[in-house]
């Protein structure tokens, strides 16, 4: 009887253990919403989008916000690291070796800056009297390939950070007028420099890596701010670092809005009898073109859906517009060739 009891007890313990083990092990791919074959770029993109949505400051009414956000941070930390991802894929969350845990704050800051949670205009609502350091605006050149497929640019930011130091320093220095009495009825007014005392601060250089996302469909002059990554201010907050997108000209494609324009040169024969060809697109995929009618110089072909993704909705794409140039022979034809051409053309082109 006792033996049976022990067996049931053991079974229950085992079952409980398995259940908790399964519950404790999180599906990081599901948390980020990416497939098991996602690239590092897919993972960064997913993190960035979800981090903004799930940040606890943005979800004050959700009691589970902290947990969801922590899960997101853990998922990114593991899946963005090649070694950790391998271990996770093979052994699950429990198989991860100890010694990781970079703080989620660090991860979040690398995408948005130190005060990145102040997104969406909260910064302006802050006390206007707090002095702010200068903003740094940096042009970031991007290729049309990157506008089409998206990309992440890693940037190392080395900046002076205000740190507490021992002692005091003079701050809020200003000129004031002092009146001193020299004798009965005689006064002297002098100008004096008067300062307050503040806790001492020193500037120490710190470095961190930032992740700048080049979103699909991004347009010229769009800015990506990193809050607090600009210049420090001894008496206040640091300014911001802003990346301003500059789309470089492409040798083959011209961008107009979400549409792409390109020129293709065909031979005289192809112009008359038709042709079939492939155009290599920005991400390497081929756009197949078939034409069986006469093509006049300057004729245009529209390929819907082969343009750039729209920034606000990447499921919508512009069109690819192909303009055909016809290549005429360079050298002049001699009389014999001219006669030959005339007869041949008579056969090809019906003359009424």
């Amino acid at each position: 009887m006792a033996k049976k009891g022990i067996n049931i007890w053991n079974a229950c313990c085992l079952l409980l253990y398995i259940i908790t083990a399964v519950l404790a092990s999180r599906d990081f791919y599901k948390i980020l919403g990416v497939s098991k074959t996602a690239t590092i770029r897919d993972i960064k993109k997913a993190y960035r989008k979800l981090a903004l949505q799930l940040h606890p400051d943005r979800n004050p009414d959700d009691p589970k916000a902290q947990d969801k956000f922590a899960d997101l941070g853990a998922a990114y930390e593991v899946l963005s690291d090649e070694e950790k991802r391998k271990q996770y894929d093979m052994y699950g969350e429990d198989g991860l070796k100890e010694g990781h845990h970079s703080s989620h704050n660090d991860i979040f800051s690398s995408f948005f800056g130190d005060f990145g949670f102040m997104f969406g205009g909260n910064r302006q609502q802050q006390d206007r009297n707090i002095p702010r350091g200068n903003d740094i605006v940096l042009d970031l050149e991007v290729t049309l390939e990157e506008v089409y497929s998206g990309n992440f640019v890693e940037v190392v930011r080395n900046k002076p950070v205000a740190k507490e130091a021992p002692g005091k320093r003079k701050c809020n220095c200003r000129q004031e007028m002092r009146t001193t009495q020299l004798g009965p009825g005689r006064f002297q007014m002098t100008q004096e420099m008067v300062c307050d005392e503040c806790p001492n601060v020193k500037l120490v250089n710190e470095e961190r890596t930032l992740e700048v996302e080049i979103e699909q469909g991004v347009r010229d002059e769009m800015e990506y701010p990193f809050i607090g990554e600009g210049e420090p201010h001894i008496d206040g907050e640091p300014g911001d670092l802003r990346f301003r997108i500059k789309v470089l000209k492409h040798p083959v494609f011209e961008r107009r809005g979400d549409d792409l324009y390109t020129n293709v040169t065909i031979s005289l024969v192809e112009a008359l009898v038709g042709f079939e060809m492939d155009i290599v697109h920005l991400d390497g995929h081929k756009v197949h073109i078939v034409r069986d009618k006469i093509t006049k110089p300057g004729a245009r072909m529209w390929k819907k859906g082969e343009g750039l993704p729209n920034f606000d909705n990447i499921n919508i794409r512009g069109s690819l517009i192909i303009t055909f140039d016809v290549e005429f022979p360079q050298t002049q034809l001699d009389d014999q060739q001219k006669d030959g051409e005339k007869t041949e053309l008579k056969l090809v082109v019906p003359v009424e």
């Binding site: 050149e141 998206g150 640019v153 890693e154 002076p160 500037l203 250089n205 670092l241 991400d283």
Partner: protein
Amino acid sequence: SGQQSVTGVESADDANSYWQIRGKPARPCQRGSAIKCGQPIRITHMKTSRNLHTHHFSSPLSNNQEVSAFGENGEGDDLDVWTVQCDGIYWDRDEPVRFKHVGTDVFLGITGEQYGHPIRGQREVHGMSTPNQHNLWRTMEGVFIQPSQEPLRHDEL
């Protein structure tokens, strides 16, 4: 010469002290690629979009060669080009380097002469003919862009 002056300041929290490294005129360098020792570059002042420039004028305080900030919107002339002098193949971020002017062959330097009013305490930046400890420079605060991978092509997946 009447052009914009370039000075050295001690404060580390001034966004007016940021300069951007760019390629020669009409030869832009690729974003994120490392700069080789000996490579010609332009050094552009970020706030005013003017290029570090020098020419055969005397500097006001020390009689070295005057260094100014020249051009509009990042475009000046051929005297905006400097070569990075360093040991090894690439300009290492922590490495002291020199900037040698292409055209007049002077080295960018500061020897300590200070301006008076209205830029009291700021140091004169000038071009010197010989390399020495006054013309060694090192990057400090900044934004350093890493090389990127090409966006993936569909047929690779």
